[in-house]
């Protein structure tokens, strides 16, 4: 039972990352700087929400209470959400969104690749599917970091600020709870801490290509996985959950 509960929490965490970042990106719909990039951000949003459905559907089955993905997305409150803080910070301007996506995508590519080796068949299947899509995201956000960094003085200043501001939310991606450590030992989850060096190396290489400065600050925010969120998550949930809570059985 305990193993089941730990696994439930871990799957919720992965689903919540995809759901909340997917929702954030959907806020760009109709507001992108140019049509192609508006479409790119909403496509990535769709991919992430699709991935969230797969994770949350599985999490629902692990509860043993016949919960579905909608119950988990729409009928949980802030303290029960386990997403990384980086997924809930506001979009800011285009450069802020790119910086946030850049850090997250680099992590997601490494994580889903490692998760394919999971001994849990469902997680491995979801990771296999997600990894290919996430590779497209990573390519897009990396290209934009380079283009903005090595662009005009203004674009460079904006993306550097975005990178600096989002940096303190990246430490959390490589920390593990005791529950997660137990699942790592069983071969169900990849060892996130072991991905850190490769992540840093990739980020460093791309930032250097973008002629940007890699942040060195060691202070990191954390708490997402324990349900300790920024003030922003409540506002996201208020918007996302309003309709299903006000009209619980609403159908298209």
């Amino acid at each position: 039972m305990n193993q089941n509960k730990s696994l439930y929490h871990a799957v919720l965490h992965l689903g919540d990352n995809a759901l909340i970042l997917g929702h954030r990106l959907s806020e760009w719909c109709g507001h992108g700087p140019v049509l192609e990039q508006d479409i790119a951000m909403t496509n990535i949003s769709l991919d992430l929400i699709g991935q969230a459905r797969m994770y949350l559907d599985y999490a629902g089955k692990l509860t043993g209470e016949n919960k579905n993905e909608d119950d988990l997305a729409y009928r949980r409150d802030v303290l029960d959400f386990k997403n990384f803080l980086i997924t809930e910070i506001p979009n800011g301007d285009f450069a802020d969104t790119i910086a946030r996506q850049f850090f997250f995508d680099q992590w997601n590519v490494l994580y889903t690749k490692a998760l394919m080796e999971s001994k849990d068949e469902t997680l491995s299947a979801i990771a296999n599917k997600a990894h290919k899509e996430v590779s497209y995201h990573q390519r897009w956000s990396s290209e934009w970091v380079i283009r903005l960094g090595d662009g005009t003085a203004e674009s460079k200043e904006k993306i550097q600020r975005g990178i600096d501001d989002a940096w303190m939310f990246t430490g959390e991606m490589f920390t593990q709870t005791d529950e997660e450590k137990a699942l790592v030992a069983e071969g169900i989850l990849p060892d996130a801490a072991a991905l850190k060096a490769q992540w840093e190396e990739e980020i460093k290489r791309l930032l250097s290509e973008a002629t940007l400065v890699m942040p060195t600050d060691n202070f990191m925010q954390s708490g997402g996985k324990e349900g300790v969120h920024t003030e922003y998550l409540g506002f996201i949930l208020a918007e996302m959950q309003y309709l299903p809570r006000a009209y619980p059985d609403a159908q298209w």
């Binding site: 479409i39 790119a40 991919d47 797969m54 299947a125 296999n128 599917k129 590779s135 497209y136």
Partner: protein
């Protein structure tokens, strides 16, 4: 009692007529969405697989598959969603690729070619309108999750390219 093989062939026949809701020239069978049709103790089991995780048509396709099997009076049947092995554009049949091209969507090239493109190498995509290889990717994201946006430098027409997964 209907023999199992005829039950299965009737199911395939019905499924062959289910068109993709977004690209109504190809069937869900040609797209590789229908993985398997099996018969177990007189009950049909149809395994389908989602394409792109974010594809909004996935649910519609499942409903259309159920409707087609119902209309062909193939009850009792069960439709399962299978995730593994993941769907890939390699599963699209040659006939499906030909129809895509005819419809104006450049069909996915061999997956290995696309992996190269993913690593930043130049991707060779043939224009579905004039057949030229002198094409250029405008954006890797297009009008639906399964398409990238391209432009032909010869005939100057924009076109969709079915994104490799």
């Amino acid at each position: 009692m209907v023999a199992a093989d005829s039950l299965i062939s009737q199911a395939w026949e019905a499924l062959n007529k289910v068109e993709d809701p977004e690209i109504p020239v190809v069937s869900v069978v040609e797209l590789g969405i229908v993985r398997d049709v099996i018969e177990r103790n007189g009950e049909l089991e149809v395994n389908i697989t989602p394409t792109y995780s974010g594809c909004p048509a996935t649910q519609v396709i499942e409903e259309m598959v159920i409707e087609a099997l119902h209309n062909a009076k193939l009850e009792p049947f069960k439709v399962n969603t299978v995730l593994s092995p993941p769907w890939s554009t390699d599963l699209i049949s040659d006939e499906g690729k030909r129809k895509l091209k005819e419809y104006g969507i450049a069909p996915p090239e061999d997956e290995s070619i696309d992996k190269k493109a993913l690593m930043g190498e130049e991707r060779q995509v043939t224009c579905p309108n004039c057949g030229s290889n002198n094409t250029h990717m405008v954006s890797q994201f297009g009008s639906t999750p399964c398409k990238s946006h391209f432009k032909c430098k010869e005939c100057l027409e924009p076109f969709d390219y079915f994104k490799c997964l």
